[in-house]
Symmetry: D2
Subunit: 140 residues, 4 copies
């Protein structure tokens, strides 16, 4: 998994948007990737919660990189589509997006994912969003 971790870390560092919103790659394992996001006013929607677009951005990247852990080594991945439900306002100190592979074929990988909100140290989390995504393997 070290090769795939390095490959994903390098790719993540090339994603301008992840730096712009302050997201960090937190975990790469076989079929699962975590991305962390601290709260910032720069990410807010009109009521001060984190904008659905920022929550979606980290979860899309988490699902895409989870899919990449299952792709043939000569392939890259692109998101064909996803669907996301927002379960409650994205309130918290920091957030963790978790993407997991549910099924991977030669061409398409199906992932599910969630974003957890944490408030304060040692706190339990609340799930604020659920995603179901379709990712395509493409030749590099």
């Amino acid at each position: 998994m070290s090769d795939i971790h390095n490959r994903i870390a390098a790719s993540f560092n090339e994603q301008g948007l992840m730096a712009t919103i302050g997201a960090k790659l937190a975990l790469v394992s076989d079929g699962e990737v975590h991305i962390a996001l601290p709260y910032s006013e720069r990410l807010s929607q009109q009521h001060g919660y984190v904008h659905a677009g920022a929550i979606t951005s980290i979860l899309d990247s988490a699902c895409g990189y989870a899919a990449l852990t299952k792709a043939p080594s000569e392939c890259d991945v692109v998101t064909a589509e996803f669907k996301i439900n927002f379960l409650r306002p994205a309130l918290g100190d920091h957030f963790l997006a978790i993407g997991r592979v549910q099924s991977s074929g030669r061409l398409l990988t199906i992932c599910t994912g969630e974003v957890r909100a944490f408030s304060g140290p040692g706190s339990t989390h609340k799930v604020v969003a659920l995603m179901q995504a379709t990712i395509v393997n493409v030749g590099q």
Copy 2:
């Protein structure tokens, strides 16, 4: 429509994420809202295209504000969920997200939307994403 335009412009200006990614409110009409986004490296994914998360962020906001034009004046709106397909890489000088109300009830509003990519002045556009979203009216 002037009241609703002012209300949406004020709300848009409170969305930290829209300022962070450089998005502008471009049109508010009855049941339709446009949001513009210039290309920036700060919004990229690993191949230099605009990240799906940035495309999704402006389209989510466009659909939500389109729904707000149909909501009772005492209500605000929140996105319950959406689904988005990415039709091609988000390549272009600038992008326009268009959200349109398809059906609005007392409680739920259904919107569809698209993001158009433009390259150079006078160019025709290409549609890079399609969304179908469910927005909920909530008491303020």
Copy 3:
């Protein structure tokens, strides 16, 4: 279009489910397919409306066959996924599912679709469902 009409009609006739629910192929044109469904108690949900599953079945088939009109002649298509919103109860004498291609690539075709409900002769319709679907070209 005559070849593709014949091919789709033959395929439709092999779909046991379409006969079981009483659906008919109503139109095949380039990038658009219509499927008609008369009301029947045999298709109801618990309040007597047509079940979301029957509405979904005809719209899935309409989108899939619309995609087939754009596929290479040596390919068949399978539905990778779809999302459907139900806008109002499926009340009516008969229903028409309309699937339309929005984008077709070598591998994936994106369709949108709607189901219209009609009550009585000469009536205007109401849209009861909206779909956005991803269809995959597969070698036969």
Copy 4:
């Protein structure tokens, strides 16, 4: 749970479509409902697999009834929308749709679900479909 089981069983028996396709209510527990479907040629798509519409129908009902187990007793539920991925062809002797509540609020319930395919006695299953659904509580 006996009251809710009886209520769901009575509602299920009023769903004409479930009888038409041969589906049976298999389990009702708090936040989870199972619906079983034996294979039949009457449910096929053009290659003889079970049609995506039949798979979707039982999973929609399973998610809706799972949501009903969490709804206030004076409410009924309707499906606002769902998204479903088809992971592989629906091949098997019989199928089991499992709907589970992930989050339930005053107004909206979010469910996820899967359909498992079984071939022969004692066989392990394969997951053929994944759903993420939004269900609305409505006054009866």
